[in-house]
Symmetry: C2
């Protein structure tokens, strides 16, 4: 299956983003950072401080044509974005398997469930059954608020939708059942500390 | 960093392989299967039998140009293969983090270490420090033999090379310190059972 880039957004090559970032005024350096940038910074912090090894998976791309010019790198001349069959982030934290999907919404009052693919939910369910730690990391961009939403809670709201209920999770529902993360300097989004709080709450 | 496809092999699109496979005589269906095919089959078996959730990561590709034709999927018109910074496979098995790299060699007497990128070794070291389970899965294609080589053992041979020693691990060294897997019908390569044996040996 080939798709437009997930969520209909246009693809922005990483290098382009990085170049753009270097040119901006440092005092505005967190303005306009995408959630992906923030998580890359966080994961880099975890990695270099030996806290966890968590990476974003590459975007799945179906390669159709490749040219092999003499004496230079292979060039892909035709390829398509594929729909991801898993979540974007996974890795290991003190022996434990961590697996999550990160999503931004411009909405101020609820998180629309159409942001999540059905096979991603299926993947998270299977991870949960294997006793992996799985969750959504949701950013309300306009409110500048971030939440770790445990899969077990998200699943209930997904099933509510399947049964004909509302197609989103309200902000107040999220406030009630999630751990909020304060964005900081370093690590930018300390979601592992949020997971510790969740484990304390539920154990 | 852009590269020729890892190990200088030409890229064969997955669909092409799959189409080719369907046309072959079923009695020869295991002939010519790549290690990647065999592991995909194995992981599919683990997934559908609720044994583990382990996936191959997408090949990392740097996208440079994308066209957006009206009413059809976005087409990537220029992109390059990137060098992987992690291993190819990871996932969760009964709460435990699994992470490995799979490599084939046509060599009959040793496994050349040039098959592995230095940053992949660094990644495996960090996973090992986080108490993840990490290993190499090596196939000697001519001999039709498969081994699970624990990272902790592989690391010693890697360091031997760094210190100026031989640039490969001999087959007899592998036989001594690894668990051999017999290829079967289903699951094709039962590396999780091999891991169980390893844990029993070392505990």
């Amino acid at each position: 299956m080939t798709i437009r880039y997930p969520n209909g957004k246009k693809y922005v090559p990483v290098q382009q983003l990085e170049t753009g970032r270097k040119k901006t005024n440092p005092s505005f350096s967190n303005r306009g950072k995408t959630l992906e940038d923030e998580l890359n910074d966080t994961n880099e912090y975890y990695l270099s401080n030996n806290i966890a090894v968590i990476h974003k998976k590459p975007v799945p791309i179906q390669v159709v044509n490749v040219k092999y010019p003499a004496r230079s790198a292979a060039v892909i001349t035709e390829a398509y974005f594929r729909s991801p069959s898993t979540t974007d982030y996974n890795g290991v934290w003190n022996g434990k398997y961590i697996d999550f999907e990160a999503k931004e919404t411009k909405n101020r009052t609820s998180f629309p469930l159409q942001n999540i693919h059905e096979h991603q939910v299926e993947h998270m369910r299977k991870v949960s059954e294997q006793n992996g730690i799985t969750f959504l990391l949701v950013k309300f961009t306009v409110l500048d608020r971030y939440f770790v939403v445990p899969y077990e809670y998200f699943e209930k709201k997904w099933e509510r939708m399947i049964e004909g209920g509302r197609k989103s999770i309200t902000l107040s529902e999220i406030e009630e059942m999630s751990i909020e993360i304060e964005a900081r300097y370093n690590p930018r989004l300390d979601y592992l500390s949020a997971l510790k709080k969740l484990q304390n709450n539920f154990n």
